[in-house]
């Protein structure tokens, strides 16, 4: 049983405050993903959990033990590095056995565990090879194998898939997920790839500039982001943002408008948006919540746009459009008859409109 608890964690490198007051509870058996742009403090946090980086202030608990002052070897963790960090002078078998040898397991037990891990990962035929004789995907598997033979309390992953090519990355992502389901070990996974975060994580932590922005299940973060950063970071293509002004509508209720938009605020949102009446607001809508309007759509939930680029992906079509002075992307059905320079009417999904305070960037 090992949950990981982080209390008021801070890290300073000379003048840089890399991690600011992080509080987090990673539950037992949970797959927790840290995501954020580079330099957001996610890797530093992971390295502090591993014991590779000293803690400026705060506490980290693994299981029920405070591990602040424990060396990495005594924390009962295993880590997979971005560049795999395989020992180049050892065979695959010795790479995987190294941790067990250091912990003085007997030979038979080491052999059994390495074979077991090799079977799970499908690398049994390569056990006698040296790392340089393996492909990228195979090296990645060995790095995973080296972590799982130890049966640690927590797995730490530092961008383990980012050195793989796109196809292999998708494949290894699925395998990681399966592996976690099979082993049930608590895992902390750092990535800058929001797709990995969404697909792998039981819960996701979004960080920016050393500060945790939001913690939650992937869809919760996707549907209810707490601020504009989280909304924009998760999802591909990213959410569209446009500055708007809140005004009273003719038939009662509220409307948002700018030089290209003129949309009715849904009644259930009107209460919160109402506080901004007469003021600026940032309107957000995801590309998939836009579609080509039909005659039955109410006119105050549609707007006119000029198509600038059409990207046909097969499963959907992305339209890069201009609405007044703002650029947006709409994901519409693949057969949509749109062409460059067309004028289209697009409809918004009123249940999926997002509003952000332009100054604090928080969700309204």
């Amino acid at each position: 049983m090992a949950q990981v608890v982080i209390r008021s964690l801070n890290k300073r490198f000379d003048e840089v405050h890399a991690v600011k007051d992080v509080n987090l509870e990673i539950r037992d058996k949970e797959f927790m993903v840290f995501v954020g742009p580079s330099g957001c403090g996610k890797t530093t946090t992971l390295r502090m959990i591993a014991g590779l980086e000293s803690i400026t202030s705060g506490q980290i608990l693994i299981g029920d033990r405070v591990v602040n002052d424990l060396p990495p070897m005594d924390r009962d963790i295993a880590m997979v590095f971005q560049n795999y960090a395989l020992y180049p002078h050892m065979s695959v078998y010795d790479n995987m056995a190294f941790g067990l040898k250091m912990r003085k397991f007997d030979r038979e037990e080491i052999r059994r565990r390495v074979q077991e891990a090799a079977d799970i990962l499908g690398i049994r035929d390569y056990l006698h090879r040296k790392p340089r004789q393996l492909s990228g995907g195979q090296r990645q598997r060995v790095a995973l194998g080296r972590a799982i033979v130890r049966h640690p309390q927590v797995f730490l992953f530092d961008e383990p898939l980012s050195n793989l090519d796109a196809k292999l990355r998708v494949q290894m992502r699925v395998e990681l997920k399966k592996l976690h389901e099979r082993l049930g070990t608590t895992a902390v996974y750092v990535t800058h790839d929001q797709v990995e975060a969404m697909t792998l994580g039981d819960r996701v932590v979004v960080m920016r500039d050393g500060v945790v922005q939001q913690v939650g299940e992937p869809l919760e973060l996707y549907n209810n982001p707490v601020n504009r950063f989280v909304a924009g970071f998760l999802g591909s293509p990213a959410m569209n943002f446009a500055p708007v002004r809140v005004v009273a509508a003719n038939g009662g209720g509220l409307r948002i408008e700018n030089d290209g938009l003129r949309l009715l605020v849904p009644p259930d949102q009107a209460g919160r948006v109402g506080r901004y009446a007469g003021r600026e607001l940032t309107f957000g809508i995801r590309p998939e919540d836009l579609r080509i309007a039909t005659d039955s759509d109410p006119p105050d939930l549609t707007f006119e746009a000029i198509v600038e680029v059409v990207e046909r992906l097969g499963s959907e079509t992305l339209l890069d459009i201009r609405v007044g002075s703002s650029a947006m992307v709409a994901a519409v059905e693949p057969s949509a008859p749109a062409r460059v320079r067309d004028r289209l009417r697009l409809a918004v999904n009123p249940e999926r409109m997002h509003f952000f305070d332009p100054e604090t960037e928080r969700t309204v």
């Binding site: 014991g51 395989l86 180049p88």
Partner: protein, 283 residues
């Protein structure tokens, strides 16, 4: 590679290469020819009708025989070997640990300490032997092998430290971090992971240190005085040049035999040695 017409290859590659190889190997050839040339030919004037400077008609081993039987050459070889091996061993151990510490442990002033060590390497031996001879005398080490075993590291350790520091810095830090998470202490991670990977670097540092101490002249000349304590470079030059008389045959034989161990060491480790100087570590 040079592309284009065949003459370009000759002009830009083969001819310069031949000149280079010739210039490099000629002194060795001269040394060998002089070693096996009988005295009668050696002292023949240049305008004699049978003057043959570049070859000899009657090769002889008498100079080598003289060297081995009439001088202490074999003792000098043994002295040089012991001194070179001991000072290389001391310098390698110190250099490896110091290089590791300077490359990996983030202690205060690590950078300035590294520079300081390098600066000591820049002090010329021709200045340093004066204070060192005082130290050697105070410790009563004069005319013993210890005088050299303990003073050679003054220039070998900075050299080994810098070479190893560069090599350790090229090894990815993650390897060590991974080993430490795997259950190794910092020392064990160094012994089991970093040192085996650094073998080419250690070998090239060792070869360099061995060569430098094998060829060292000034300290050996100053700190040793009795003939049976001398090293090859000092022994050959001091015992075979008497006043203004040069015993060219034995002198060249001594130089030739004296350079064989170094040549052997190089040829055994040449691959590692090249990897150590140019190489990187691939994970």
């Amino acid at each position: 590679m040079i592309e284009g017409a065949a003459w370009r290859k000759w002009v830009y590659f083969y001819i310069p290469l031949t000149i280079f190889v010739f210039l490099l190997l000629f002194p060795f050839y001269w040394m060998i020819v002089t070693t096996v040339r009988p005295d009668g030919e050696l002292y023949r004037p240049w305008n004699a009708p049978n003057y043959t400077p570049f070859w000899t008609a009657n090769p002889t081993l008498e100079h080598i025989q003289y060297l081995l039987e009439e001088t202490l050459f074999s003792t000098w070889m043994l002295n040089t070997m012991i001194i070179a091996l001991a000072s290389t061993a001391i310098s390698l151990v110190c250099g490896v640990f110091a290089g590791y510490a300077l490359a990996r442990l983030n202690f205060p002033f690590a950078g300035s300490l590294g520079t300081g060590i390098f600066i000591t390497y820049l002090v010329p031996q021709t200045l340093l032997f004066i204070p060192l001879s005082d130290i050697v005398r105070n410790f009563r080490l004069g005319d013993t092998p210890w005088a050299l075993i303990l003073t050679y590291p003054t220039f070998l350790i900075p050299f080994c430290t810098w070479l190893m520091m560069g090599y350790f810095k090229a090894i990815p830090k993650e390897l060590e971090e991974c080993a430490r998470i795997d259950g190794a202490s910092r020392f064990k991670a160094m012994v089991y992971i970093i040192l085996p990977i650094a073998v080419p670097g250690i070998l090239s540092a060792g070869i360099f240190a061995f060569t430098l101490s094998w060829n060292e002249f000034i300290y050996a000349l100053v700190f040793l005085s009795s003939p049976e304590q001398k090293t090859v470079p000092v022994g050959v030059t001091s015992e075979l040049i008497r006043g203004d008389v040069f015993f060219w045959g034995p002198l060249m034989a001594g130089a030739l035999l004296g350079s064989i161990p170094v040549a052997l060491v190089y040829s055994f480790f040449v691959e590692h040695y090249v990897a150590g100087l140019t190489g990187s570590v691939k994970g």
